[in-house]
Amino acid sequence: MSLNNVRLQKVVKKQSVYKVKANLSMYSSLIVIQLLALLFSLGGTGTMGTSSVGYNGITIRLFSADIVIVFTMIWGFITAIMLTTKAYKEDEFIFVTNRLTSNLSNIIFLFVASIFSGITAVLSGYLLKVIMFSFFNYEFLHAGTSSEFGIFISGLLTTILYVFMFSSFGYLIGTVVQLSKMFIIIVPVVIIGGVYLLSRINQDVILDIGSFYFLESNFFIALTKIILTAGICFLAAIFISNRLEVRK
């Protein structure tokens, strides 16, 4: 009998590679969702119209990848929930693993997925503009964020991290549901009920939460906020799932 000693990092690395390969179907769902979002964006995300005497009037349309980014965040959220379901857990507990390595490799997988989907989401904004310019004869007033490389990179980074943060929400919720099926009902009730209650007490709270994450003007503070939130969610998920039984 020869017993093998294994190192945590090594197993996490193997599992991460395995998950990227095993979950290929998630990428095809991403492509479908982003194409769909792109289609919705063709109508423009904002319109300004003016008309004055003597002119036919001009219409200014705003084309951006915002819808694609929002859809991608939802995709990250749902993908993360799926990773916590029984079916996925059974696939991964076939091979060498424990709860910690499984969670860590899931987080790495979600991060890789966030990078990939973030890049495609941001680039789809340019695709959208190219389409409008080439096929619909729109004149550019302003090409948008493409002008400066620094802004492009910071926009890309924040998009990736937003997707990552949303996947951390999904991961936490999915893990909590694994504790007991009751949470399938309790979680939405608490979230929707909470939002309703908060808005009754103080309507601004919801807006405050939104602006806390999305309207932070300092790039680095924004990054810190997102990373901290995601980190807390993932840590909580790891803590909860450490006592869960698998292959029931």
Partner: protein
């Protein structure tokens, strides 16, 4: 060296007691048969040993470590059953390649040869396999992984007779070449008994017997004779089973140890040996008369 030690192991599932006060040890490099009726706690025990489930109380050690959520135990253990599921996006060949990444002792040559022998298609998907083919594929993963502790939970589900025979032979030959600790749970003791060194018999979540298979075969003896005589003779002995056959004749199974068999033969009773699987059935029967009691 003991690979597995259980001491007062208990497991409750909701309010039902699945295992109660189970204590046993399993030595290194032995093949043990885990036998018991449906619901005796076989799968519960095996899933605890594999680290999937957590015991409710008592002590369990695998390779001297607590198995639940343990990476070291997981790296040296494989649990094979008919519920194994693999990612749908991987083909059978890719699954074997992934298994090779995870299991250090993986024998790729053996896996490939078995794969070809049982004529699997490299591009096939696991979920599209028939029940028997799935079991066969899982068996290949179990054999090739060469884990120090290899657990087969009802490995032959759905396999036809020829494949079962091949599986048992493959299991034994690979064990001879590369000894390791193997536990097989099965309903078919008669099929696996030749492979086994020890038998662990469970009844209602606790240990009924744990002994070498050869001793199990010698554990009990069957007596056939006139009802009154058999009744009288077995009165002060440990009786596992009695059955009336025809008018005035009774068949009884009693513990063999310390029984004056010559005396029984002189009295005109016929003594017969009892197969190990029959002994197991009689030992774990709820009622002494078996299913016939229902029709009384």
């Amino acid at each position: 060296m003991n690979v597995i030690t259980c001491e007062g192991l208990k497991k409750n599932q909701r309010k039902v007691r699945a295992l109660s006060d189970l204590s046993f040890t399993i030595k290194e490099n032995t093949i043990t048969g885990l036998i018991g009726r449906n619901g005796a706690g076989k799968t519960t025990l095996l899933k605890i040993l594999a680290g999937f489930w957590r015991e409710s109380s008592g002590e369990v050690k695998v390779f001297n470590q607590h198995p639940f959520n343990n990476l070291y135990v997981s790296a040296n253990t494989i649990y094979v059953d008919d519920q194994m599921s693999f990612p749908a996006s991987l083909t059978l060949t890719e699954i074997l390649q992934e298994a090779e990444v995870f299991y250090e002792n993986w024998n790729g040559k053996l896996a490939k040869r078995l794969f070809d022998y049982f004529s699997f298609h490299p591009e096939q998907q696991h979920e599209n396999l028939s029940k028997g083919k799935k079991s066969t594929f899982n068996m290949i993963v179990g054999l090739a992984s060469r884990c120090a502790l290899t657990i087969y939970d009802e490995p032959t589900t759905g396999m036809d007779a020829a494949v079962r025979k091949d599986f048992y032979r493959a299991l034994l030959r690979d064990y001879l070449e590369y000894p390791r600790t193997i536990i097989i749970s099965s309903h078919h003791l008669d099929e696996v008994e030749d492979l086994l060194e020890d038998v662990l018999l469970l009844q209602d979540g606790s240990k009924c017997l744990h002994l070498p298979i050869d001793e199990l075969k010698d554990y009990a003896v069957g007596l056939t004779g006139r009802t009154e005589m058999v009744r009288q003779w077995i009165a002060n002995k440990e009786v596992f089973h009695t059955n009336n056959i025809g008018a005035g004749t009774t068949y009884a199974v009693v513990k063999k140890e310390g029984i004056p068999l010559d005396n029984a033969r002189q009295l005109g009773m016929e003594t017969t040996s009892v197969t190990s699987s029959d002994i197991c059935v009689y030992l774990t029967d709820q009622t002494k008369g078996g299913i016939d009691d229902v029709f009384k």
